[in-house]
């Protein structure tokens, strides 16, 4: 109960600061522009894929870190009331996760609705993209919470958040490619697939690839990829892993929040 009350006020606070509006407008203008210049819903989805995989983790992790630092006073205020820390943590998470997700959903969804792009591309791909976007929003929000709770210094915390983003979006894949070349004498299929599970951005990417590039993925000769990509199992496992990426940092954050001194 208290979770929802807290979330409601936190939501009001967040909505009054402009960033969530700016964030939503960013998606709105981008999607609309893609429709105007790019054409079909299919194409727009494909272009949005990169935005979802790069911009959402960046914005979510940075905003999440700043948000938690800025909620310090609010936290103190609430915790001196008869409220459980758990309720407050959930409230804070919803207070940020909900508006960011909504901004993304509306910003992307409205142009699709306005341009009739969903009918053209099919609801499946659109919903998948929206779902993946929301998933990554929540994953990186909980990672941001974890960083902000572990680091007292705001500048440092922001630095770690950015580092996390660079690592997951760029460095990680570079290392994977390096590994592929270094150990090219060994069968790497299983390893590479397993490595992808260590990166939520990769999970989101694979989920979208399964939809947009399945014809290319099915060209791979190895049995592991084929078994994984070619069946519903691959999609289910990927979604499961993404949920795990949400659950683990979130519960670590909750634990740290429990022990934290305010």
């Amino acid at each position: 109960m208290n979770t929802l009350k807290i979330a409601r006020y936190q939501l009001r606070d967040v909505m009054r600061s402009r960033w969530v509006l700016v964030y939503g407008l960013f998606f709105l203008l981008m999607t609309d522009a893609l429709f105007r210049f790019g054409g079909s819903g299919e194409r727009v989805l494909l272009s949005l894929m990169n935005v979802v995989l790069i911009a959402i983790p960046l914005v979510s992790v940075v905003l999440g870190t700043m948000y938690l630092y800025n909620s310090r006073e609010f936290t103190e205020l609430i915790l001196s009331q008869p409220v459980r820390r758990r309720s407050l943590f959930f409230g804070l998470f919803i207070g940020l996760g909900l508006p960011s997700s909504t901004a993304f959903l509306l910003g992307t969804g409205l142009p699709f609705w306005a341009h009739g792009g969903a009918a053209d591309a099919g609801w499946g791909p659109l919903l998948l993209l929206l779902g993946t976007g929301v998933g990554l929003t929540l994953v990186f929000t909980s990672l941001a919470f974890l960083v902000a709770l572990a680091t007292e210094d705001r500048i440092k915390g922001l630095g770690y958040s950015l580092g996390l983003w660079v690592f997951f979006t760029v460095v990680f894949n570079g290392l994977v490619l390096l590994a592929i070349y270094m150990f090219s004498d060994y069968p790497m299929e299983r390893t590479v697939l397993a490595l992808s599970f260590l990166n939520p951005v990769d999970l989101g990417r694979i989920l979208l690839l399964l939809n947009f590039d399945i014809s290319a993925l099915m060209g791979f000769t190895g049995a592991v990829f084929k078994g994984f990509f070619g069946s519903g199992t691959g999609q289910a496992v990927t979604v499961g892993a993404l949920l795990l990426w949400l659950a683990v940092p979130f519960s670590l954050g909750l634990r740290s929040f429990h022990r934290k001194n305010f």
Binding site: R12, E73, E76, S80, R84, R259, F262
Partner: protein
């Protein structure tokens, strides 16, 4: 029997031992001032009792209830933090409403302090536009809003203008007269002398001494509390 009992309370921040097996008993229906030099652990002690700070070891009981994961005991506590900071985009009225919400809309709330402090005109402005003094007033109103049995006031008059300061002090005295338990920290000794019954002096994470204001001033032969305390500390150190 004490309203608040603190037993063997220890807290460290990194290498700094802020509270060191501290023992304390706060009497029911009285006003206790927690004093000590900067960094002595006053705020940490208050925050530990409120559950904001997680101590390493020790137990705290509030009216017989052990402070743990159940936050219910805080229903009876009003807290005025040292620095009043709130969500910047909400208004004071919204914050008051939110806290009321969180406490399940108790029928009896007390806005009289708000009226006395002439806060009415500031209630609908976003927090970020409020002056330090006005924020402090909101903080005070919040602490007294639910007529709590126990009040924690961390530097309550800091940043207030003289008129508001006097209004607040009157209110504190009134609450004391009605039998509420009050824990106060302050740097203004005249204020402590005016409000408190008992002084607890913290030094290096322990209680250096605990005595009633009357006995402190009376036995020392000094003209006021400030002098009496200074004398008491130097005496201890010399001894």
């Amino acid at each position: 029997m004490g309203m608040i009992r603190v037993h063997e309370l220890s807290k460290r921040y990194g290498r700094l031992q802020v509270l060191d097996r501290l023992e304390l008993e706060v009497e029911r229906g009285r006003c206790t001032a927690v004093l000590g030099p900067n960094g002595a652990g006053k705020t940490t002690l208050v925050k530990s009792i409120l559950g904001l700070v997680r101590p390493e070891s020790g137990t705290i009981t509030v009216d017989g209830e052990v402070v743990g994961s159940d936050p219910e005991y805080r229903r009876r506590i009003g807290y005025m933090p040292q620095i009043a900071r709130y969500p910047e985009n909400l208004t004071a009225r919204e914050i008051l409403q939110m806290i009321r919400d969180l406490r399940g809309d108790p029928p009896e709330t007390d806005m009289s302090l708000g009226e006395a402090l002439r806060l009415e005109g500031e209630l609908d402005k976003p927090f970020r536009t409020l002056s330090g003094g006005n924020r402090q007033k909101v903080s005070a109103v919040l602490a007294f809003l639910f007529r709590p049995d126990i009040l924690f006031l961390d530097e309550p008059t800091a940043g207030l203008d003289p008129v508001s300061s006097a209004t607040l002090k009157d209110r504190i005295l009134k609450e004391k007269a009605e039998g509420r338990t009050i824990v106060l920290t302050s740097h203004v000794m005249s204020e402590v002398e005016e409000l408190a019954d008992t002084v607890v002096y913290l030094l290096d994470g322990r209680i250096h001494f605990q005595d009633s204001v009357a006995s402190l001033v009376g036995s020392s032969g000094e003209v006021n509390l400030e002098r009496a305390i200074a004398r008491r500390i130097t005496a201890r150190v010399v001894a």
